[in-house]
């Protein structure tokens, strides 16, 4: 049971349980998103396509969902720490005699630039697009890789 404080004088004198419930719902949603660590606009760049970036010891991995994009239409450029993904999503027309019930998929061009935390070895960058999922593997520059130094007994 939640007790909501009645605040008279706000928006007239009548207590409106519905607007109060909505306010509570919004608040809960916001708290939930903060706790769950989902982006909710805070970290996402707002540019197509959405990217996931991961790293392991040797490389960075950049992934993007690009359904319906021909791998031929994707162009990847690297420059220092930057990665540029350029491309176009084409949706060919389906003939003149069709009528649409739903049209949610969109065509258009895209261009996204992202920076990686450390320099990469641009000669060894590899990209694969499989089932509309682009994976770019960017090996870290040799100087960046953590080196393990053995201590020899004297």
């Amino acid at each position: 049971m939640t007790i909501i404080k009645w605040r008279p004088g706000r928006s007239g004198s009548r207590f409106d349980p519905f607007s109060e419930m909505q306010r509570l719902q919004r608040e809960m949603h916001r708290i939930y998103n903060t706790l769950a660590g989902t982006q909710e606009g805070s970290r996402a760049a707002g540019v197509y396509p959405h990217l996931n970036i991961t790293e392991d010891e040797d490389s960075y991995y950049v992934r993007a969902e690009l359904p319906g994009v021909d791998p031929e239409d994707i162009e990847i450029t690297t420059q220092d720490n930057d990665l540029i993904i350029n491309g176009e999503r084409k949706i060919p027309p389906e003939g003149a005699n069709v009528s649409y019930h739903r049209r949610e998929r969109e065509a258009g061009s895209f261009r996204r630039i992202t920076s990686l935390p450390t320099p990469i070895d641009s000669s060894k960058v590899a990209a694969v697009c499989k089932n509309g999922l682009l994976t770019i593997t960017l090996p870290k520059a040799p100087a960046v890789k953590a080196r393990q130094i053995d201590v020899k007994p004297a």
Partner: protein, 133 residues
């Protein structure tokens, strides 16, 4: 290059879909559905879903399309930035026309499912001529 620039949109997450046996989020794929005289075609964006992991079920007039994905990352990888989540795709449709179930074809290319549902003979529109009396 076309003039239009693609706008980024968050994937639509399915709020509730009964109890699921597999954990993880469920997303609603964006679709195009269009109809010609002979058939209904459905295109669904399901990035990361291989053709063998798509399942299509037509029961009565209820069409269910779902797709499972493989894990994205290896165990060693750590996230630096996560702008999208991955999970199962699932969407249901109710079809108004009668479909010839034996003639349904489905293909997957670059993460887009193309489902062609030919109409049964009965459902094709017929022109009725009005004779002068």
């Amino acid at each position: 290059m076309s003039d239009k620039e693609l706008q980024v949109r968050d994937k639509r997450e399915l709020e509730s879909e009964g109890e699921r046996t597999r954990p993880g989020p469920v997303f609603v794929p964006a679709v195009d559905i269009f109809e010609s005289e002979a058939e209904i075609t459905l295109l669904a964006d399901m990035p990361g879903v291989a053709s063998e992991n798509v399942s299509i079920d037509l029961h009565e007039n209820q069409l269910t399309v779902s797709g499972e994905i493989e894990p994205l990352t290896s165990e060693k990888e750590e996230y630096l930035l996560q702008e999208f989540e991955t999970g199962t795709f699932h969407r249901q449709f109710t079809l108004s026309d009668r479909i010839d179930q034996n003639a349904i074809t489905a293909t997957v290319k670059d993460g887009v499912l193309r489902l062609v549902l030919p109409k049964a003979e009965k459902a094709k529109p017929r022109k009725i001529e009005v004779k002068a009396g």
